[in-house]
């Protein structure tokens, strides 16, 4: 497949121009280990780096340093401080640590190799014109290499000197691009494709994403929070953005009325796939046994017990779809291992409508309340999931003014070691809330 000769070698991911076209002045370093990553069917980043090295010495030396890492199995970058005028964050400074015996950099042309984190639009949409424009600007001031995208969600412009980070930022900032976060601050957010092209979306990801992040733009550019804070938006519980596990504040589209069933399409699906397929792969996979295939090949959904897991809708995309009374669930506290171990986000708001301007304002105010509370109460370097773990969910809810709800738990407490002398007041609150409807 990939070892077949390309039809047009000059327009192929494996293309390397002849050495006669080399514009960079430094000769290539030997890179026997990296060279082994040029074969095989997947497009090779090594060939990409070499093409760039044909044009600039920074990439010649970068390849040298990378090969050295492959040989010694060690990394050689260290951090530092670089920022653009007016901002405290958004740039990841990188200086080489590889020095020769005289203390001079072994790979001087890439001794400064900083990255700029730039916020993409929600859903990572571009026109080809815009991609070319960004690429041209980066070619002018940086290595030419761009990562689409980092794991937090930024466009990462990899490899520039301290001076050029400023020039590059000035140029792209003029045509609408801004830096993302780095350090203890609100970080760049991520959203799924959602309403733009996915029928399962129950939310306006574009609007939620910008509303949340752009409200904290000062916190993003001037890191002064206890630690990082990430928003992610998924249009439905398939959670294509992995927000429950990876976001401090996950917004997930859902619905609270009945799911829509097109019985004609259900019958057509059964006809096409067989009753056995539908029973084995749809009905019996529902986590709450909320589905029943009727004798006439129609489907009954027990909507009160459907937990909106999305499975049946994923399988029967034409027959089943989310309801019309849409909104979002909000979960908080997802993060990876450091320091208390992994935490998934947990339900803080089971359901919230996002329709009117007031609804969106309420979402914005809640995010402010939560970040304020966390900023005041967290220990240094503590993600919000850890703060909640340390002080307990109830103290957190009281701090941010959110009422308890049984959707927040898997099951009630099993330990009797708790003091409950205000039981009557608390029960009263619940009854009043229920009466208020």
């Amino acid at each position: 497949m990939a070892d077949q000769k390309p039809k047009n070698p000059e327009k192929h991911s494996t293309y390397l121009p002849p050495m006669s076209e080399k514009k960079s002045s430094k000769p290539f370093h030997d890179t026997p280990m990296l060279d082994e990553l040029e074969s095989g069917p997947w497009p090779s980043f090594v060939t990409g780096l070499k093409r760039l090295a044909m044009d600039n010495d920074m990439m010649v030396d970068l390849l040298g340093q990378l090969e050295h890492s492959y040989k010694t199995r060690l990394g050689y970058w260290k951090g530092g401080t670089v920022s653009v005028f007016g901002y405290g964050g958004g740039i990841i400074p990188r200086f080489t640590e590889l020095m020769d015996t005289d203390g001079k950099p072994m790979f001087p042309e890439s001794k400064e190799f900083h990255t700029l984190r730039v916020q993409p639009p929600a859903g990572n949409h571009y026109t080809t014109d815009m991609l070319r424009q960004l690429s041209n600007s980066w070619n002018k001031y940086g290595s030419g290499l761009i990562a689409f995208h980092g794991q937090t969600g930024n466009i990462m412009f990899i490899g520039s000197t301290t001076d050029n980070t400023q020039h590059f930022f000035d140029e792209i900032n003029e045509y609408g691009w801004d830096l993302g976060g780095a350090g203890p601050c609100v970080r760049t957010a991520m959203s799924c494709v959602g309403a733009a092209r996915c029928e399962q979306s129950c939310a306006n990801e574009q609007k939620i994403h910008r509303l949340l992040v752009n409200n904290f733009i000062d916190d993003m550019h001037r890191p002064a929070l206890p630690y990082k804070f990430k928003f992610k938006v998924s249009g439905c519980p398939n959670d294509c953005m992995n927000s429950i596990q990876r976001a401090d504040f996950a917004v997930i589209g859902t619905w609270r009325d009945d799911m829509k069933v097109d019985q004609g399409e259900v019958k057509a699906f059964v006809e096409r796939k067989s009753r056995k397929y539908v029973i084995d792969n749809v009905v019996s996979r529902c986590p709450t046994n909320a589905l029943s295939l009727n004798d006439d090949d129609t489907m009954t959904v027990d909507n009160r017990n459907c937990v909106r897991c999305m499975h049946c809708i994923n399988v029967m995309t034409k027959a089943l779809s989310p309801g019309d009374d849409k909104g979002v669930s909000i979960l908080m506290g997802g993060k990876r291992t450091l320091k208390i171990g992994d935490t998934m986000g947990t339900v803080i708001v089971p359901f919230m409508k996002l329709e009117t301007d007031e609804d969106y304002e309420q979402l914005q105010e809640m995010a402010e309340e939560v970040i304020d509370f966390w900023a005041e109460n967290a220990l240094e370097h503590e993600r919000i999931g850890e703060t909640i773990e340390r002080i307990g969910l109830v103290n957190f809810l009281e701090g941010v003014g959110i009422e308890v709800d049984p959707n927040m738990i898997n099951y009630p407490r099993t330990s009797s070691y708790v003091r409950m002398d205000t039981w009557d007041e608390e029960a009263d609150k619940w009854n009043q809330r229920k009466a208020a409807g």
């Binding site: 082994e36 199995r73 571009y126 801004d178």
Partner: protein, 359 residues
């Protein structure tokens, strides 16, 4: 030239408005899509309430793109599609066309340019990709190289849809794990405590915050050779590397003792089961550039067993939950060791408190 100029103040626009970059058919039918299907691997077909249709071709990339790659791909998108493109969270490009007859020529052009079309439905899609030696300051291994080596081997699984359900693989080049959860995750695992350069600690590190960073309280301030430094209780140390980012003189990476570990069963979706964390299945795997064959072999073995044994729609985590861990270790022929039994906070809940035993 511009030395004397006053610095330019940033325009704090934040996240740009995505609506301006949406394919016109996306924009017109925003929030009003009806259903989708997959006519073939690598292609999604979406139909809107209005009757409008788009076909989307998904194509794998190497994530790090230079002007050659970007222009090559943009030329194809301009010529064979509509000039709009989006990226998935796994660095695949999605290129939409409104005319079905454009799909095959677009796929052919991408394939001819050496870019694989696939990654949809029940395929092994692109590995989520961190930075590694190319650019991070704390990595124990590379990221782009691991991904390239593995995707070469998994190319057929990328361009076909023959797995029981989708497979999301992640890699991480330190134990921070910015690659996140995966059906299969290949992550660095250090096996020796940090080596401390005591000459540098006092100058470079804010000692109290380094002490506070350690998850097992193994670090304490100490005077070493008359200089204020830090000391690690090596019996307590779990070799996590958390002290290394705030204090680079506490070098955790080692060319021999930095190993790889493989984890399975992570799942972010809420479909069927609740989201799950991935769990340790193999460790002590050599960190072996440039192609990491030992890690690759274990991943392929797990995928092979999963493909043969899982039911349709079962993600790796769902599958193991059904067949149980004893069967998982039996089928994959991976050793089960004392290290698989968790001893971190809350680990009691990972033990089997029942008479449910598998034979």
């Amino acid at each position: 030239m511009t030395e004397k100029a006053t610095p330019r103040s940033p325009i704090e626009t934040g996240c740009p408005d995505g609506m301006q970059y949406l394919h016109p058919t996306y924009l017109k039918n925003y929030g009003m899509w009806k259903y989708h299907d997959r006519p073939r691997p690598g292609v999604l077909h979406h139909v809107a309430e209005s009757g409008d249709e788009v076909w989307t071709v998904r194509v794998g990339t190497q994530r790090q793109l230079g002007p050659f790659e970007l222009n090559l791909l943009c030329d194809i998108i301009d010529k064979y599609a509509d000039g709009y493109v989006r990226f998935t969270i796994r660095s695949n490009m999605e290129i939409s066309v409104t005319d079905e007859s454009k799909v095959e020529p677009l796929i052919e052009a991408l394939t001819d340019a050496g870019y694989p079309v696939g990654g949809t439905g029940n395929s092994v899609t692109m590995i989520s990709h961190t930075q590694g030696w190319l650019h991070c300051d704390i990595p124990g291994t590379d990221a782009s190289g691991v991904v390239k080596a593995m995707m070469d081997d998994l190319h057929d699984e990328f361009i076909n849809e023959t797995m029981p359900n989708r497979v999301h693989i992640t890699t991480s080049c330190c134990q921070i794990n910015c690659g996140g959860q995966g059906d299969i995750a290949i992550n660095v695992q250090h096996t020796k405590p940090p080596k401390i350069n005591h000459d540098l600690v006092a100058n470079v590190c804010e000692r109290p915050s380094v002490v506070a960073r350690c998850p097992v309280a193994a670090i304490r301030p100490a005077m070493v050779n008359g200089k204020p430094s830090l000391e690690v209780d090596e019996k307590k140390c779990i070799c996590c590397g958390a002290c290394f980012p705030p204090c680079p003189p506490m070098q955790i990476n080692d060319s021999e003792h930095t190993k790889l570990a493989i984890w399975v069963g992570g799942k972010n979706s809420n479909a069927r089961s609740k989201p799950m964390f991935h769990k340790l299945v193999a460790a002590g795997i050599p960190n072996n550039p440039p192609r990491w064959p030992e890690a690759n072999d274990i991943v392929k073995k797990i995928l092979k067993v999963y493909k043969e044994d899982a039911l349709e729609w079962e993600r790796v985590g769902d599958w193991v939950e059904r067949i149980g861990w004893p069967r998982f270790f039996e089928l994959t022929e991976l050793p089960f060791t004392k290290f698989h039994i968790d001893n971190w906070r809350g680990s009691r809940y990972t033990l089997n408190a029942s008479a449910h035993v598998r034979f």
